[in-house]
């Protein structure tokens, strides 16, 4: 059981890394990795939102949607749940911990419509994971995404000082770089066979 959960965790963090092998969440990935500071802030917020929204959606999926045979409404209901939860978190954070709100609040708005956040509950539902397994999946995905952000941010800070041809400056060279890292992440694929 524990080994299975660990497998899910590692698989979602490294082998099926959302950025480098599923190519999801690229808008945030390229948006916030210009600075290390913002990418670390984004990583924390992202992982936290991922865990809570996966748990919420698991409960709704298993106790509302399955009994009433409404599995086909996954996308609509999951988006609604995530949006409602993020909005509530935004409001509560602003009141309770304003310091944290001003540090991380800007990322919350970006997260609402993020595909990785939506993909995790969808995959959980598809694989019929238990709550424990779903949490492992969410944590793995969140940390995998954070890893991708931090790798990219540190590389892009170096890139600032590199002599890049003019036509490749900015986003193009970042895409090239992402492709190279994705190639490296391909090496994880043989590590665990699911």
């Amino acid at each position: 059981m524990l080994q299975h959960v660990l497998t899910i965790f590692i698989a979602s963090a490294l082998i099926n890394n959302f950025v480098f092998s599923r190519y999801l969440g690229l808008c945030i990935f390229f948006g916030v990795t210009k600075k290390m500071e913002t990418s670390i802030g984004m990583s924390f917020t992202f992982t936290a939102v991922m865990l809570i929204s996966a748990a919420l959606n698991w409960v709704i999926y298993n106790y509302v949607m399955i009994p009433y045979h409404l599995g086909f409404l996954k996308i609509v209901i999951f988006i609604g749940t995530i949006a409602a939860f993020v909005q509530a978190a935004d409001t509560i954070m602003k009141k309770v911990v304003p310091a944290l709100y001003y540090k991380l609040g800007i990322y919350l708005a970006l997260i609402v419509t993020n595909c990785v956040i939506l993909a995790v509950p969808l995959l959980n539902a598809e694989e019929n994971y238990s709550l424990f397994e779903s949490m492992a999946m969410a944590l793995g995905s969140g940390l995998g995404f954070s890893l991708a952000l931090i790798i990219m941010a540190s590389l892009r800070e170096k890139l600032e000082l590199a002599d890049v041809p003019k036509s490749f400056q900015g986003l193009p060279i970042s895409f090239v770089l992402t492709g190279l890292i994705a190639l490296a992440f391909l090496g994880f694929s043989g590590m665990i066979t699911l």
Partner: protein
């Protein structure tokens, strides 16, 4: 014509309904658990509506409760203060952006109104008006460059050809300059300045525009050599060197470095200069900006940011011949017998203002000199003073 159109419309409508009922709904129904026999699974449709409506209501009510329970009362003062602030989000106040400062200054009685460096006194006054706090006097500050050793006046230990940026150059054995305390001259501070107040001179030294500089401190943070410091604008005499090398070493590396000879220490009439660790520093709380040290410094390391100093002139009607002025004059520019009207030798006067401060009769005025009188002592100096 109309009949044809209406039949066509009805046909299209019935087609769409048929397609929807026969093709789409069964497809949905398969996953929804209904039987795919071509009929519309009404119970699934109704359940969908009920569940979605219920979830919508639950989320709506939950959000409404959260919004009511965790409401943050916005202070109207905050908005007003933010409108007054320059909006550069430079962080010189020590808060996270202009909004952060606006909230702090409106909400916290201990936060001073004068923290906005770009806004200067005018903004401080407006904030004081809005928040009802007292505006204390704020002395304007400016960024000062503590290096005059441009490429023509200093030695290099190697030729650096990497990325033209100080933060990159400093990684390569501390940069190409042989003086490890000096300005590297690749303009990182210029790019960091949010107000375009810094330009690079032909000698690769930053020139700070007195009008544009707001003393936000961005350049101070950006400089990897800590060459730039914030200083009071009124204290315009600065020892523009950070070298803590021994005098002989400094001489080898740079023509305009402080060699810690101590002449300025002995010259200073108010004992404001001290040599510490091979570098002379001015205590600006004591300095009277007389400019005597500038004239005496053998390496021209001390820079006077006042472009044209006024000259002393004695008003014959007020002068009582007390002779205090001639005693205090450091360059013996004042002559005259006791109890007779004294005279200032304009060619000798350096405009330090010490006689004017001393005269009990207020008979001495400091009058602005004609531009031709000022002599240009150094190439680098002229470049720096152009920006001062």
């Amino acid at each position: 014509m109309y009949e044809q159109l209406s039949t066509l419309l009805i046909q299209i409508l019935s087609r769409t309904v048929n397609i929807f009922a026969n093709k789409l709904m069964p497809m949905v129904g398969v996953e929804g658990g209904a039987v795919a026999d071509g009929s519309i699974p009404w119970d699934t449709v109704i359940m969908t509506l009920i569940v979605l409506a219920a979830l919508g209501i639950v989320f709506g009510v939950a959000l409404a409760i959260v919004a009511a329970r965790f409401v943050v009362k916005a202070d109207p003062k905050v908005e007003k203060v933010r409108d007054v602030l320059p909006g550069a989000n430079c962080g010189a106040c020590g808060f996270a952006g202009c909004m952060g400062y606006a909230e702090a200054v409106a909400g916290n009685p201990d936060v001073a109104v004068s923290l906005c460096a770009p806004g200067k006194a005018a903004v401080a006054e407006k904030i004081a008006e809005i928040t009802g706090k007292k505006a204390e006097k704020m002395e304007p500050k400016i960024a000062r460059v503590f290096c005059q050793g441009g490429t023509s006046l200093s030695q290099r230990k190697f030729i650096y050809t990497g990325v033209q940026d100080c933060t990159a150059a400093v990684l390569a054995a501390g940069g190409g300059k042989s003086c490890e305390y000096g300005c590297l001259g690749y303009g990182t501070c210029m790019r960091a300045c949010p107000f375009d107040a810094i330009t690079m001179s032909a000698d690769d030294l930053p020139i700070i525009n007195k009008e544009k500089c707001t003393a936000c401190g961005k350049c101070v943070a950006a400089c990897p050599k800590q060459v730039i410091e914030l200083a009071l604008m009124s204290k315009a005499v600065v020892i523009s060197c950070h070298s803590r090398d021994k005098g002989l070493e400094v001489k080898k590396k740079c023509q305009v470095g402080c060699i810690a000879c101590g002449i300025c220490v002995r010259t200073c009439p108010v004992e404001a200069i001290k040599v510490d660790n091979n570098l002379a520093r001015i205590d600006h709380s004591k300095c009277i900006v007389c400019g005597l040290c500038v004239k005496k410094c053998p390496t021209s390391a001390i820079h006077d940011f006042i472009p044209m100093r006024p000259r002393a002139q004695i008003d014959p009607a007020k002068c009582a011949g007390i002779d205090a002025c001639s005693k205090v004059c450091p360059v013996n520019a004042i002559s005259g017998d006791p109890k007779a009207v004294h005279l200032v030798d304009q060619s000798k006067c350096i405009g330090c203002g010490m006689c004017a401060a001393r005269c009990p009769k207020q008979a001495i005025d400091m009058v602005s000199a004609t531009p031709g009188v000022m002599k240009k002592s150094h190439v680098a100096k002229a470049a720096v003073s152009a920006g001062a």
